[in-house]
């Protein structure tokens, strides 16, 4: 039992050190967001006082609140869209056998390997010809289909006992009824996981929203972050960091709240 104590002390020390190292960039960016220019230049570690000037300035420079709203809307739409599209596809891969299913599944998985940046130009032209510039459509619809999500959900759907499916057939449920009355509630954890994942990745998208929007009305918050950095005039790090903090706060919160679910769901997907 004595060994146990020493052991847990060792672990706590390791945990603390790792946590500090890993979290330092985030903590420090929060600290910097309260500093003024001189403090930044002087490599101060702690701000001399909590002043929120930088935040005031951020909101003054960029319509961040508006961007936050857009980001929120876009992320939510993508999240919902992904859930619907991916779960439909995953349902097929888990429950409806047909010839060539494996091939289509492989095709889906192979899309993981296509770099999105490489497909961006043609996509941009497509969006334009669809007349989707400056609309939420362009920032959401292309992301509804997601190989990773389909894979994740399929893995979880496969754990649903086949008997449930058969029982529902005997009771006279149509496939769709089975899908939304049984499969969806059954796979709640995975859906939440995919939801969080989708929300986070969409929230963090940068280049694409910039390309497909031409005015502030539909812009998202990551662009706001970019707007804070300038080319020819000195960067005000305090302000930029304030922007960073505002941008990461919602996702971090979401992550902290959804952490348990996320972990559960991701595990189910990770194992073959």
């Amino acid at each position: 039992m004595r060994g146990g104590k020493i052991r847990s002390i060792v672990f706590y020390v390791l945990l603390l050190v790792s946590a500090l190292l890993l979290f330092f960039p985030i903590i420090y960016s929060v600290l910097v967001s309260f500093m003024n220019g001189a403090e930044v230049l002087g490599r101060a570690f702690l701000p001399s006082s909590i002043n929120v000037d930088n935040y005031v300035k951020v909101f003054g420079t960029v319509p961040l609140l508006h961007y936050l709203k857009n980001s929120f809307i876009v992320s939510c739409i993508v999240m919902i869209g992904q859930l619907i599209v991916c779960s439909l596809a995953a349902f097929v891969f888990a429950f409806i056998p047909f010839k060539g299913r494996n091939f289509i599944f492989l095709l889906f998985i192979s899309t993981l390997m296509i770099p999105w940046e490489a497909a961006m130009i043609p996509n941009f032209l497509t969006i334009q010809s669809l007349g989707w510039m400056n609309s939420y459509l362009s920032m959401t619809v292309p992301f509804f289909a997601l190989a990773f999500g389909t894979f994740l959900l399929r893995q979880h759907f496969k754990t649903i006992p086949h008997e449930l499916y058969e029982a529902s057939q005997i009771e006279g449920l149509s496939r769709f009824q089975f899908f939304y009355k049984v499969v969806i509630p059954y796979a709640k954890t995975s859906l939440v996981t995919l939801g969080i994942y989708g929300f986070l990745t969409t929230w963090n998208m940068y280049l694409w929203p910039l390309l497909v929007t031409t005015n502030d009305m539909k812009r998202t918050v990551q662009i706001g972050l970019k707007q804070l950095q300038t080319v020819e005039v000195s960067t005000e790090w305090g302000v930029v960091m304030a922007g960073v903090v505002i941008v990461i706060l919602p996702t971090l919160l979401l992550l902290f709240i959804g952490q348990k679910q996320l972990q559960k769901g991701l595990t189910q997907g990770a194992l073959k």
């Binding site: 008997e163 057939q169 005997i170 006279g172 449920l173 509630p185």
Partner: protein, 378 residues
């Protein structure tokens, strides 16, 4: 009135072997019909063909005298209880029970009534609001039963519904299911590989092996008059003791490996067609001590003794085969000691050495036995 008829039903999964071949049987309305057999013999396959969950490769299926080969599961008007219960984990017990009715658009009041009835019948009234994971195995089982009950289907299929339960609960549920089936007058097709269930619950049993029907009959028929070696050893616990013997037609006797000799009548010799036979004797028929005139007796060395409350199981070798004897009472005998045992030749089964068909089985007359009983119990 025949409710379900299988006519040379065949099923093949891989197009090269039959999982079920030429199953033919007719099941009456209100009958409790049992499918037994070792693992992989095709029990579930037959059940699933009847339910419509599996396509029929060849042959015909009639339900209520109508061809049902291509009916959808929901059109067959049956309910099914799965081995792992197939409860919807996200629904409460009540919702689980009513799930099928909702789909069939049964009125709300009616639903409520049926649910209450079923819950009362199965003692689930207090659990209606729980989720399946908050129930014990037996309770889950009862929920699955309740689903079958409310569905009001005249036919119910059950696939090894008790195999996950512990022995005590199992005994309890056995009784309950049987009573329920009688009360509701349902036609029941029940799959199991547990022969206690097979013996105690069914009106008739169908014994399967490798996809082929071995015998169909009442439990006692099957126990007392097995058609072949397989049925004989499959039914009965501990199983019937079997040893190979050569037929000595000259001396009208059977010779076992360890020089044991079993004398048989000439009549019997004549019935035997092959040169070797399997002799069979049930453990219950082996008794302690020297026997009487027409009895066979051996002195054996015990290899194991198991005292189970009020009965004792003894194991010993006859040639290379382990035989078991079951005695009433507690007999904590010493191992490695010679013990005398005996059995009556009249209780002996003989099976053909090549075809394994039953050649001779002990006399048994059901009607006689029944009469005796009814006289006695008056």
């Amino acid at each position: 009135m025949s409710h379900i008829q299988l006519h040379q039903l065949c099923k093949t999964y891989d197009q090269s072997t039959f999982a079920v071949e030429d199953a033919t049987v007719s099941i009456e309305k209100g009958e409790f019909f049992i499918l037994v057999g070792p693992s992989g013999c095709g029990k579930s396959t037959i059940l699933r063909m009847i339910a419509g969950l599996e396509g029929i490769s060849a042959g015909e299926l009639y339900i209520d005298n109508q061809r049902a080969n291509h009916l959808l599961p929901s059109q067959r008007n049956l309910s099914m209880v799965f081995q792992n219960y197939a409860l919807y984990p996200h629904l409460t017990v009540e919702e689980n029970i009513l799930f099928g009715l909702k789909v069939k658009k049964v009125k709300k009041l009616e639903r409520k009534k049926r649910c209450e009835e079923a819950a009362k019948l199965l003692g689930l009234t207090n659990y209606l609001k729980r989720k399946p994971r908050e129930l014990s195995g037996g309770q889950r089982q009862r929920v699955a039963l309740a689903r079958a009950v409310v569905s009001d289907a005249p036919m119910c299929l059950m696939d090894e519904p008790l195999s996950n339960l512990d022995a005590k609960l199992r005994g309890h549920m056995r009784t309950e299911i049987r009573q329920l089936q009688r009360k509701l007058g349902i036609t029941m097709i029940y799959v199991t590989h547990d022969q206690v269930e097979a013996m105690t619950m069914g009106d008739r049993i169908m014994v399967l092996k490798d996809g082929k029907v071995q015998q169909v009959g009442t439990p006692l028929e099957i126990y007392n008059k097995p058609k072949n070696l397989f049925v004989a050893t499959f039914i009965g616990a501990p199983p019937m003791n079997i040893s190979k013997a050569t037929v000595d037609r000259m001396n009208s006797q059977l010779l076992l490996k360890n020089d044991l000799i079993i004398p048989i009548s000439n009549e019997e010799v004549r019935q035997i067609k092959s040169d070797t036979v399997y002799i069979g004797i049930r453990p219950e028929q082996i008794s302690r001590g020297k026997g009487e005139s027409r009895d066979v007796d051996f002195s054996v060395q015990l290899s194991n003794v198991e005292v189970l409350g009020n009965e004792t199981l003894l194991s010993f070798y006859i040639g290379e085969d382990i035989w078991k004897a079951k005695w009433l009472g507690q007999w904590p005998l010493d191992l490695n000691r010679q013990t005398n045992i005996s059995f009556s030749i009249e209780k002996l089964y003989l099976f053909d050495g090549d075809t394994e068909k039953t050649v001779i089985s002990p006399a048994w007359n059901e009607t006689v036995l029944k009469e005796v009983l009814s006289v006695e119990s008056r």
